[in-house]
């Protein structure tokens, strides 16, 4: 089982689905950011799995995974800063109360 590419890709797909559920369903902005991190991890797992099983991609996949991690760190920094900036104005971390543009 640990020698088949399918197992890792299915695992990545399930992890991505869990992350997308969390992003769509949670009310808390920080929970949504955590779900985004889960989805990025799922994509990284798929990249590394392809790298481990396809010889031409082997080293390149690790490089791409490291780049994805760096971009994820940048995304987390800016995302959390935006959440804190909104929190300072609205005094709530719940995204369904950010309705100023709807009124």
């Amino acid at each position: 089982m640990s020698q088949s590419l399918d197992a890792y890709l299915v695992l990545a797909g399930i992890l991505f689905a869990i992350g997308s559920f969390g992003f769509l369903a949670r009310r808390n902005a920080i929970s949504m950011l955590m779900s985004i991190e889960l989805m990025l991890n799922a994509v990284n797992l798929a990249i590394v799995a392809f790298g481990a099983f396809v010889p031409e991609l082997n080293v390149h996949a690790s490089v791409i995974a490291l780049m994805v991690m760096a971009v994820a760190a940048a995304e987390a920094t800016v995302g959390l800063a935006i959440v804190m900036a909104i929190y300072r104005n609205r005094r709530t971390p719940l995204v369904d109360e950010y309705d100023a543009m709807r009124q």
Binding site: S2, F21, S35, V48, P55, M69, A70, Y87
Partner: protein, 177 residues
């Protein structure tokens, strides 16, 4: 005393047992992340999920990616998220509703997505996919600093810009204080 080739009483190889344990742990922790009510516990479960994923990277033969996973995700991103949790969650008002009203359609969509991905992956012929091969760290370093040196520098500039932007956004403004 030598370690047997297969796990006693199960007849599976050690790699398979480790893969099953790590995969089950990672998926369980990920489910806890999206369902728990207390957001601090969500963060702790997220750290556990990242750690299990680092173990899976080791199983895949990518030790440098596993080390970077521990350093960047557990060491930097998770700690950053936990700090943001402590700065933004009001203690006196516990959140009654964890989920939005669209939680059930979201769950259906996520399950459909997982089924579609699983069916597509198992139905696709991936060509001559060989056995698992480990990634040599010295070859990785050589590639990263020769062929991929421009993306590497671009990523570092991106990180610098993100840090400056984060500081600017999160900075307390004195004029309305």
């Amino acid at each position: 005393m030598a370690i047997p080739d297969t796990v006693p009483l199960l007849g599976m190889s050690w790699n398979d047992v480790l893969f099953l344990l790590l995969a089950a742990g990672m998926l369980g922790c990920a489910l806890l992340v999206v369902t728990l009510r207390d957001i601090i516990r969500c963060g702790i479960a997220m750290i556990a999920a990242f750690a299990a994923l680092a173990g899976i990277y080791v199983l895949l033969g990518a030790p440098l990616v596993a080390a970077a996973q521990v350093l960047i995700y557990i060491g930097a991103i998770a700690v950053l998220i936990l700090f943001a949790v402590m700065l933004t969650q009001a203690k006196n008002a516990p959140v009654r509703l964890v989920f939005q009203t669209q939680a059930i359609p979201a769950a259906v969509a996520a399950i459909v997505l997982a089924v579609i991905v699983a069916l597509t992956v198992t139905a696709t012929d991936w060509g001559d996919v060989g056995r698992r091969i480990a990634t040599a760290t010295d070859a990785l370093a050589r590639l990263l600093f020769n062929q991929y040196v421009l993306p590497f520098e671009v990523v570092s500039v991106l990180l610098l810009a993100a840090v400056i932007g984060g500081v600017f956004l999160a900075k307390r403004e004195d004029r309305d204080a």
